[in-house]
């Protein structure tokens, strides 16, 4: 941690003349090298326990040169956690520095792009912007963490065309062990995926399907499909994703999905309502829930959020507060 901070502050001294804007990182010297990062802390209260976490401390580095660009993200997850169950308290510290993403892009021409390395799987909308400060609820929908691998280590090839709308087709290929798979939701050594999206005016439609091999539960071949729709204007966003997962014989997740609406009252105040439902066969669990939330952004890259989750299973009702900053 000390070494990471030292490198960060050394690089800050090489800052370019460009004016720094919070949430947009800064350039190091005049190099194709930008630095940024984010932090996130939260408080959660359920019927059984109260917890405080310093969850994410992450550093981003990226840049581009001609047709090439790169990005690296190193992160401490659940850096400090304090849990009080009423009967006992527990403090957990995780000092492992994870390689969250590390990849290089090659833009061949106006249509084709190739990505190599470890990246957020290009599935749906939510999974591409998974960090606290960029979303409007502290929690993420369950569907994002049970249907497909959040991260892929391999290659992604995409074709994009801009005519009346934006059409994008991508294929994902992983046929190797993942990089730093410690907290990926699935430890995978194979992932083949396909996605297609179309954006026109305020609407984006997206469909993903794929196969992956995981050793999480048992040695498993799993197939997934996810359909996503987003409608967005300056004041309103409606987002829905619904999918399913199966192995060769049966559904492992019959369905998992959510519908989320958010309203921007003005540039600082945002209200959110999300309905979720899932039926997970492997762990024999299903739930329906409603999440109501409010976000205050004094500046866009700073988010102070609260949400309350109403679960069909009353024991799971919870209150969450969080503070996060992108820098």
């Amino acid at each position: 941690m000390k070494r990471l901070l030292l490198i960060f502050f050394l690089l800050l001294n090489l800052q370019a003349d460009e004016k720094y804007t919070l949430g947009e990182g800064l350039q190091v010297g005049s190099l194709p090298f930008y630095l940024g990062g984010y932090i996130s802390a939260d408080y959660k209260k359920t019927e059984h326990e109260t917890s405080y976490r310093l969850d994410d401390i992450a550093l981003l580095a990226y840049g581009s040169y001609e047709k090439f660009s790169y990005l690296a993200e190193l992160e401490f997850k659940e850096f400090y956690t304090y849990i009080d169950t009423g009967e006992e308290t527990n403090i957990e510290k995780n000092r492992h520095l994870y390689t969250e993403r590390v990849y290089a892009d090659y833009t061949h021409d106006e249509n084709f792009m190739f990505r190599f390395g470890k990246y957020s799987s290009n599935v749906g909308f939510w999974n591409l912007l998974p960090i606290n400060v960029l979303r409007e609820t502290t929690s993420s929908p369950v569907s994002v963490s049970i249907l497909f691998p959040k991260f892929t280590t391999g290659m992604d090839a995409s074709y994009t065309s801009f005519s009346d709308g934006e059409l994008k087709i991508n294929t994902t290929l992983q046929h190797n062990e993942g990089i730093d798979d410690g907290y990926n939701n699935y430890v995978v050594d194979k992932h083949y995926g396909f996605g297609i999206s179309y954006e026109k005016d305020a609407y984006v439609f997206k469909f993903n399907s794929g196969y992956f091999h995981t050793k999480n539960f048992t040695d498993h071949d799993l197939f997934y499909a996810l359909a996503s729709v987003k409608y967005e204007t300056d004041s309103v966003q409606i987002l829905t994703e619904i999918g399913s997962q199966k192995d060769k014989d049966k559904f492992t997740t019959k369905y998992a999905g959510y519908v989320q609406g958010l309203y921007r009252f003005n540039e600082h105040h945002i209200g959110v309502l999300r309905a979720e439902s899932y039926e997970h066969t492997i762990i024999n669990q299903d739930d329906n829930m409603m999440i109501i939330g409010y976000t205050y952004r004094p500046l866009y890259p700073v988010a102070i959020k609260t949400e309350y989750q109403f679960h069909e299973v009353d024991d799971n009702n919870q209150l969450i507060f969080s503070f996060s900053v992108l820098f």
Partner: protein
């Protein structure tokens, strides 16, 4: 009654005369682009055309022409763009360069292959290519 009609006609023609016209401009070597492609270039979704790197240039953050361009071409308001560029920062992309004046935009576009900007139509000359025009 006739006087009312004449006044109305005069008012309408005055409004027409004073409605400002704007243009998206590029280096002479740029090929023709659709509005959708222009939007994609300014959002850094389209970064290379015909082996040339695209270099979109904007005006200052609260410049009225910039707000007009963002509303009419990008179809996004200031706050939504702030949100967009914060998300792009997480994905490793930068917002367009900002220039202090329309004159700077014009000079930059003339010099740099792949450069693309926007100015008032009254400021154009023969050394730049007009890609798109819009009115207030």
């Amino acid at each position: 009654m006739l006087r009312v009609y004449i006044s109305l006609l005069l008012l309408l023609s005055t409004t027409h005369i004073f409605s400002a016209e704007y243009v998206v401009i590029a280096n002479k070597n740029m090929k023709d682009l659709s509005q959708m492609q222009i939007k994609a270039i300014f959002l850094k979704k389209l970064t290379i055309i015909d082996d040339t790197k695209m270099v979109p240039v904007s005006l200052g953050a609260r410049d009225s022409l910039r707000e007009n361009f963002e509303k009419n071409i990008l179809k996004m308001n200031f706050q939504r763009l702030k949100s967009y560029w914060s998300k792009q920062h997480y994905l490793g992309h930068r917002p367009p360069l900002s220039m202090k004046s329309e004159e700077s935009v014009k000079a930059f576009v003339k010099k740099v292959d792949g450069a693309i900007g926007y100015i008032e139509k009254s400021a154009i000359d023969n050394d730049i290519k007009i890609l798109y025009e819009w009115k207030d």
